[in-house]
């Protein structure tokens, strides 16, 4: 499978600064998104530190398989899932330690949602209320659970979804990177198929744009970069109450079988002109 990806981030229409951060390492199939919190620009510090730590740790592991793995990984996970888990574990530690060392950073934290794709295997690691979605066969399915007070109450059957959407405490999180020395990390493996579209986004998108609208935008715009920009625009049109970050990752099938040689020949004949970027 070939991966086409694009990302966009925007401050929105209300906030003064953008505390979201994302990173794409296309050759590795690694995608990381983080939404920072904490006053006086410290949210930006936390989210940038989270993204940087995760990417660096995964890159190091690619070059050196013997690099240390942090945290309690599960035996059944594949190597990349273990590595991604370890990276998020480390990011939490770094942010926590930074906040401990710098009193002015007290209370800083970040969400983190990361996806690492290796062939048909997808590894996901997640903490907070940013989200990963999978659009498959026209159905948008959520691959992560929000670690927020309202979502937990819905899961326990105490609150309905409609009540949760109206709640005044939607911003109260139960888990985030940096608030405690260790954090529970939701980690999962999934299989990807051609034509699947993976979406990572901060709550600035999901609180402003409904899921059917998100699915519609992803289906109507085949270009990943443009689709990400379009979703950011929709969130801004709806009010842009928070920072908005969107990563769109499309799984495209490689030509296979009888005619693949023809496509390869045409591609080389056309030089770089028609060969798609990454």
């Amino acid at each position: 499978m070939r991966i086409a990806s694009g990302g966009a981030t925007d401050v929105g229409r209300v906030r003064a600064n953008n505390e979201d951060c994302f990173g794409i390492v296309a050759p590795m199939g690694l995608f990381v998104l983080s939404d920072g919190m904490g006053g006086a620009a410290h949210g930006e510090v936390a989210s940038a530190l989270a993204v940087e730590t995760v990417i660096k740790h995964c890159q190091e592991a690619e070059n050196n398989p013997a690099a240390p793995v942090y945290g309690e990984t599960r035996a059944g996970w594949n190597d990349r899932t273990k590595r991604l888990f370890s990276a998020v574990y480390l990011a939490n530690k770094r942010i926590f330690e930074s906040a401990e060392a710098h009193p002015e950073q007290k209370g800083m934290g970040a969400t983190l949602t990361a996806a690492w794709i290796n062939g048909p295997r997808l590894s996901i690691a997640h903490v907070g209320d940013s989200r990963a979605y999978l659009l498959r066969g026209g159905n948008l399915q959520q691959l992560t659970s929000d670690h927020s007070m309202v979502a937990e109450q819905v899961r326990r059957g105490i609150m309905t979804l409609a009540e949760a959407e109206q709640s005044e405490i939607q911003s109260v999180l139960l888990r985030a990177l940096g608030s405690e020395p260790q954090v529970e990390i939701d980690t999962e493996e999934q299989e990807l198929f051609a034509r699947d579209v993976l979406l990572l986004c901060s709550d600035g998108l999901t609180r402003m744009v409904t899921e059917p609208e998100i699915a519609g935008a992803l289906q109507s715009e085949p270009d990943a970069e443009k689709a990400a920009a379009k979703l950011v625009e929709r969130a801004n049109d709806a009010g842009g109450a928070d920072n908005i970050t969107v990563l769109v990752i499309r799984m495209e099938s490689e030509y296979q079988g009888w005619f693949s040689w023809l496509r390869r020949w045409r591609k080389s004949a056309n030089g770089n002109g028609l060969a798609g970027g990454d």
């Binding site: 937990e152 109450q153 326990r156 059957g157 105490i158 709640s167 911003s171 999962e188 999934q190 299989e191």
Partner: protein, 241 residues
């Protein structure tokens, strides 16, 4: 103008002015000052002006109304007083006591809390325990803590039953499928089950599944006891203890 500020953990949630009519406080959203916490009664308390004085009155709430840590049924409020209701507290600003027309005040109310914050472990545990205790009284909560399971009623699959522990469970022939189908001509990804906050949803994959004999077009929420049929297998969806 007198004003009430609803606070949660030192963060301002909402501000309302106290004008010519009483300010209702409670969990029900139609209150002037809704307090989103299960320890709060639907109509918990109200604050109003009486003979030029600001008064708070408890409306026979379950967990009580506290002014400066004293449980009260009715009390006169002074500037700087703090009303405790559940985990929230309300700061009283009684400067400029003259009641103002209600309508002009309503527009001045501040929007909802916007800053993201994380609860520390203790507060989180307390709140969830409280929520869980309340939840046990509701009829749905008990089922949620059970493990959703697919029992195989017929067809060729690897196991006899499957616990749904992932956010996304796939049914198909693919080697990574959660419920792996055996046999020729089976689709790689026949159908999928997505765990959402409010339950488990079955959606089509390469095949259109049926629930209790009815084909589905898009995601449909599964109920305890539903029978799913897809690609030659029959599965019983149940919540197990």
């Amino acid at each position: 103008m007198a004003k009430l500020s609803l606070m949660f953990e030192d963060k301002l949630v909402k501000e309302v002015p106290v004008g010519g009519r009483p300010v209702g406080i409670g969990r029900s959203p139609d209150n002037d000052l809704p307090v989103d916490n299960l320890a709060v009664s639907n109509y918990h308390a109200r604050v109003y002006f009486e003979a030029g004085r600001l008064v708070v009155e408890d409306l026979a709430s379950l967990n009580g109304t506290f002014v400066n840590d004293l449980r009260i049924e009715r009390a006169t409020l002074h500037d700087g007083d703090s009303i405790h209701i559940g985990k929230h507290h309300i700061k009283v600003d009684a400067t400029g006591d003259a009641p103002v027309p209600w309508d002009s005040g309503r527009k001045a109310s501040a929007p909802r809390i916007n800053e993201t914050m994380v609860l520390d472990t203790k507060v989180r545990r307390d709140m969830l325990q409280q929520a869980a205790a309340m939840g046990e009284r509701t009829q749905f909560a008990a089922g949620r803590m059970k493990v959703p399971t697919l029992i195989v009623l017929g067809g060729k699959v690897v196991q006899k039953e499957y616990m749904l522990t992932n956010k996304l469970t796939t049914i198909g022939k693919s080697s990574m499928a959660s419920v792996r189908l055996k046999g020729w001509f089976k689709p790689p990804m026949a159908a999928q089950i997505n765990q959402r906050d409010d339950g488990y949803y079955l959606a089509p994959g390469d095949k259109i599944p049926t629930i209790n004999g009815t084909p589905i077009a898009g995601p449909v929420r599964l109920n305890d006891g539903d029978v799913i049929e897809v690609a030659g297998v029959r599965l019983n969806f149940i919540y197990r203890d």
